[in-house]
Amino acid sequence: MTLVLDQVSKSFGGLAALSNVSFKVNEGEIVGIIGPNGAGKTTLFNLITGIFPPTEGKITYQGKSLLGLRPYKVTELGLARTFQNIRLFGHLSPLDNVMVGAHCRTKSGVWKGLWRTPSQRKEEKATRERAQTLLKLVGIEEDTDSPASSLPYGQQRRLEIARALATEPKIILLDEPAAGMNESETEDLRLLIKKIQTMGNTVILIEHDMNLVMNVCDRLMVINFGQKIAEGTPTEIQQNPLVIEAYLGREEA
């Protein structure tokens, strides 16, 4: 077990966004988090990555508490994320976006950058090559000099994944990566997520596309109104009456 959430709650003012959610993630698995809009899925990501602290509860990664760590520290520890609403560095090139992701794994400071010392040049070259490999992995032509914001929507989503991968994460948290994608793009995404898993990463996926979730995830957690209502394999979840009720409503007797 690498990531453990223990009785985590978060309230904004009087509004409970999450209450008593406990959850464990094993190394190397793809875990899906599903639930209706506003159920608290993104809030969960924000708690894990340190955007804001939980009101109550514990979050540990490899036995180490993540509470009180700033987001960049969490990323350094090996948890990277993408955003539901794309947050690329719009005016930078796709390559530069990915290279920013490598920031926490590289060292050169102002002085080395100014004089382009041999070690700095070596590091830059390695960073660039790795960024190019990642762009190729997610399927973006890297020769483009145009800003990231001018890429087609689907590519922007995949560029976010490449940028997160550049931080060399152990766990990657994807927040609705298939949003706005067509069927063939979603299929490419499914293959990409599988590939990320075979590269040795753990994947946590928030997604509304049930076809993708059921096909790619090893395990699912369902949240509704800030509470965990079910957990299990995709087939178990599909037959769970509570889940069916949350999605489709209760049958009138």
């Binding site: 700033r70 960049y72 990277a80 005016h91 930078l92 920031h103 960073t127 997160a164």
Partner: protein, 314 residues
Amino acid sequence: MDIILNQYYLQIAVFVLVNAILGVSIYMTLSTGQLSLGNAGFMSIGAYTCAILTVKAGFPVYLAIPIGGIAASFISVIIGFPALRLTGIYLAIATLGFGEVVRVIVLNLKVTNGALGISGIPTLGTKISKMMSSLGLPQSFGGLSAQQTSTLLVLLVLLLTLAFLVFFCTRLNRSRVGRAFAAIKADESAAEAMGINTTFYKLLAFALGALIAGIAGGLSAHLTFFIGPKDFAYHRTVEILLYAVLGGSDLVVGPIIGALLLTLLPELLRSASNYRLMIYGALLVTMMAFRPQGLISEETVRYWKGKLGRRRNQ
């Protein structure tokens, strides 16, 4: 020769270069997206530190100027810790307040001579011609007067300083630190989520901007023979900011072009000096309305690159 190299023109060229250096200083702080109005304050710290060191402690100029810059940068780190928790307009207000605090302190300290200011600062020109003669070099070349030669050498020193700063900024932009700055400017919380210690890099940009402003202050103190608290008041801050507003703050050349235009413009408008501020204001309102990104933006460069590239290919 004398028509081109008359003392008036040379003096304007000197001011253009000092202001261009100040333009680079505001570019630096803006490169992480922070609107700081404290640069005149940092300039003041640099200028006073440097002037006090040379006039009262007899330091050589070439040492005093960097020390002035470092002093400004040191203060910037101290005030930066609390101030950089603020963003946008709140940071602008806080740094504006800082500038005023510096002015009032300078006005009341004994060592700065209060409102009288510090006079009798050895000018860079005389220092340079003294150095020339001690090295056994002639004080003038090719029919130029001694004064013209020394002013030209001062211009050279300033030009080299500016060239180094431009070199510094372009190198920085294409390095790990520069990418971190650009990421913070684009989206601070996304940058933080990608593993960038945003506090550290914002503070770094702030301190580098203060360092450059402090050096510009030290240089300007040794160009004008006299400095007083009024030289570094609110209007100076606004002037520095306007270089970036007019020229654009995407690229380092932007504020430099802004400084060039805004230093030359008042001289050109000398005949209409009564209307100068009106023309100034009208110009800025026009800029805000039609080209808020400033004269030179990344698109401008991309556009011209594309155009020139196509011509070459034909």
